[in-house]
């Protein structure tokens, strides 16, 4: 990782609280910090509702923050001038988790993809514009005949790919990919992921990749950040994280991956599925402790902070010496 030593994005002590009913708040993100280096893919994983989408949206200034900072090339993204914001909007793109509601139903696919090309003047003339649109459609496994259709005419996976083509068309430096391939079958997943990896090599793109498919995250990511209920519990290089997961939550996450083999699934012990996803509203101490079999008194008292346990491998846990590896 020595080749890229300037972080493209720095997330510093970021917090986001949403109001929920009278006087109450949902602490969607509660003091998280991590860096994303240039030309790197950071995988962001964690349980549904742990704050992944919120983190990505704040990074792209689609949400305000409650506290903390997000720096892009050293500059606070929430304090940009109008001109800086315009440039940032070209450089940083997002592929939304929910493809249908994020694509304008009144626009044709050609115009959805072409919009960014127009706004940022990326095509010299109409022909070049159309050629670009076609080439992005083909790159995500769609074709020219799809260009004049409307979003509701597409299947779930096809819509997801339109979202990816739209983001790529702006020729960004950084893309936040929020579950970009969840609705795709394995073959097209492979095609899209191969495309992302190739573009990264050729154009030096940087990705923040949110997904729940751990095999895919491992495949595409250089480093992985594991979140649990608004906090970061572990971060490490991808191979290190899978080879030697240290946080009890990460361990249970990896153990729960379903295996595409009915025989193995039948033999799978119920053990791995334990740790019910019912989360008590822990406000103090480690947020995972209610489901953790290693939890001690200390875990209820104090929130563990991230410690570098091995070079580049950070874990937030009080009982690392107890946790079986």
């Amino acid at each position: 990782m020595s080749e890229h030593n300037t972080p493209l994005i720095q997330v510093k002590h970021l917090k986001k609280y949403f109001p929920a009913g009278r006087k109450e708040v949902v602490k969607a993100i509660d003091d998280i910090s991590f860096d994303i280096y240039e030309r790197e893919t950071v995988g962001l994983v964690g349980e549904s509702g742990c704050g992944k989408t919120t983190t990505g949206r704040i990074n792209l200034v689609l949400y305000d923050k409650t506290d903390g900072q997000v720096l892009y090339r050293g500059q606070d993204v929430h304090q940009m001038s109008r001109a800086e914001r315009y440039r940032f909007k070209k450089n940083a793109q997002i592929v939304f988790q929910d493809p249908y509601s994020s694509l304008d139903p009144r626009m044709t696919v050609a115009d959805i993809i072409g919009e960014g090309i127009d706004v940022h003047h990326l095509a010299a003339n109409k022909r070049e514009r159309l050629e670009k649109i076609y080439s992005y459609l083909r790159a995500v496994g769609l074709n020219e005949s799809h260009a004049s259709r409307f979003v509701h005419e597409f299947s779930g996976g096809q819509r997801q790919r339109i979202g990816i083509a739209r983001a790529l068309a702006v020729e960004p430096e950084f893309i936040m990919l929020d579950e970009p391939i969840s609705a795709l079958d394995v073959s097209i997943q492979a095609q899209v992921v191969n495309l992302l990896i190739r573009l990264q090599r050729e154009k030096g793109l940087t990705y923040l990749f949110v997904a729940h498919d751990l095999a895919m995250v491992k495949h595409i990511s250089d480093r992985i950040v594991v979140m649990y209920l608004g906090t970061v519990v572990e971060t490490a290089a991808s191979d290190a994280l899978y080879g030697k997961p240290m946080h009890p939550y990460t361990q249970s996450l990896i153990a729960a991956v379903p295996i595409p083999d009915p025989e193995k699934e039948r033999r799978r012990s119920e053990e791995t599925i334990q740790g019910e996803a019912t989360i008590a509203g822990a406000t103090q101490g480690c947020r995972f402790r209610t489901r953790c079999k290693y939890a001690t008194e200390a875990c209820a008292r104090e929130m563990p902070s991230l410690r570098e346990v091995e070079p580049g491998h950070f874990v937030a846990c009080h009982n690392l010496d107890q946790v079986g590896r």
Partner: protein, 345 residues
């Protein structure tokens, strides 16, 4: 045993400006009582359209073409009256839509949406319905359900919305549950919990499940039988073991091989299937997979393949199994099947 659902020769087309999109082109599928069946296949091949057809949810410009047959519990679904249809949908058969946000009403709290379904299909009072809604939210793993019940869909995360959809579908304890990619947005621990819940629902209420998904791991953990769809037709069907250990169709095989493995190091290229599926406005006359199939013969492009029966309900539509066709060792040898050591832990 009588089947709960029987589909015969289902054809569905969308009449668009550019022509007739033939989304489903003659699908036969049946689901037994208390059975879990999975429908898998490439993005855009017609899985959701098939699922929606079962509940007659195809809207114009789409049309279920004449000659199609759908029988539920002995009744002809395609000739149900409006009133019968209302009791059927959500009551006897319900669907978890693929697009959770678009399917939820943004102006109504999540609790109201679950309650509405309960009040309509079950004879219970308002207070009871609310308690039941809270219980269901808890079951699908939503934290603090007593508070969350009064929130709106946009206040939920993507996976939480998907789980709200699951709670709504569970609410009426249907005989048939069509789950269209129900766990796509869910992480593995919650996915495991939802699958457990589906199995429990099946045991306790004798529900049959049609699981539409591309996730072969999920399929392996829940389905008794699998239908593999490609470009609007079923290309292979069989027991879960048949499909995973003895796949016959070259598409099924390629699908199993494209799964990424947890034991792979670094960013290598994944196996993808070269090429794209055919345009459904002008589908090919022969086998739809022919243009991407590495075993394709001249006949494949010209004539729709005959179905070969391998016994025990394992059937495959492919010319390679015709008695005149050359034998392809890797497709005939069960030991060369791709499952097994594919994904090591």
């Amino acid at each position: 045993m009588d089947n709960l659902l029987e589909i015969k020769g289902l054809r569905v087309s969308y009449h668009t400006y550019q022509g007739e999109v033939q989304s489903v082109r003659g699908v036969d599928l049946e689901i037994g009582q208390e059975e879990s069946v999975a429908l898998v296949g490439e993005s855009g091949c017609g899985k959701s359209v098939t699922g929606k057809s079962i509940l007659r949810l195809i809207q114009a410009p789409g049309e279920i073409l004449p000659g199609s047959q759908i029988t539920f519990d002995g009744r002809d679904v395609l000739s149900l009256s409006k009133k019968e249809l209302r009791a059927y949908r959500g009551g006897q058969a319900s669907i978890i839509f693929q697009d959770a946000l678009a399917a939820l009403n943004p102006t109504m709290t999540v609790g109201r949406q679950i309650m509405e379904n309960l009040l309509y299909h079950r004879k219970i009072g308002k207070r009871e319905a609310r308690a039941e809604a809270i219980r269901l939210l808890g079951e699908v793993g939503i934290p603090n359900p007593e508070k969350r019940v009064d929130q709106y869909p946009h206040e939920f995360s993507g996976g939480m919305r998907q789980r709200v959809m699951i709670a709504i579908a569970f609410a009426c304890q249907p005989q048939l549950l069509i789950a269209d990619e129900p766990t796509t947005a869910l992480d593995v621990t919650i996915q495991a919990q939802i699958i457990k819940l589906l199995k429990q629902l099946q045991r306790e209420n004798h529900t049959s499940i049609l699981m539409i998904t591309h996730d072969l791991g999920v399929v392996a953990s829940i389905a008794q039988r699998i239908f593999v769809m490609y470009s609007g037709v079923i290309v292979e069907r069989g027991s879960s073991d048949d499909i995973f250990y003895r796949p016959r169709h070259p598409y099924t095989r390629a699908l199993l091989q494209a799964v990424p493995r947890m034991d792979q190091e670094g960013k290598q290229e994944l196996n993808s299937i070269e090429g794209t599926p055919p345009d459904l406005i002008a589908p090919p006359e022969g086998c739809p997979f022919a243009s991407r199939c590495k075993y394709a013969m001249p006949v494949c492009a010209r004539l729709a393949p005959e179905v070969t029966d391998f016994g025990g309900g394992h059937r495959c539509a492919c010319w390679l199994y015709h008695e005149m066709a050359p034998r392809v060792a890797e497709l005939n040898d069960p030991d060369a099947a791709p499952a097994g050591e594919e994904v090591g832990q």
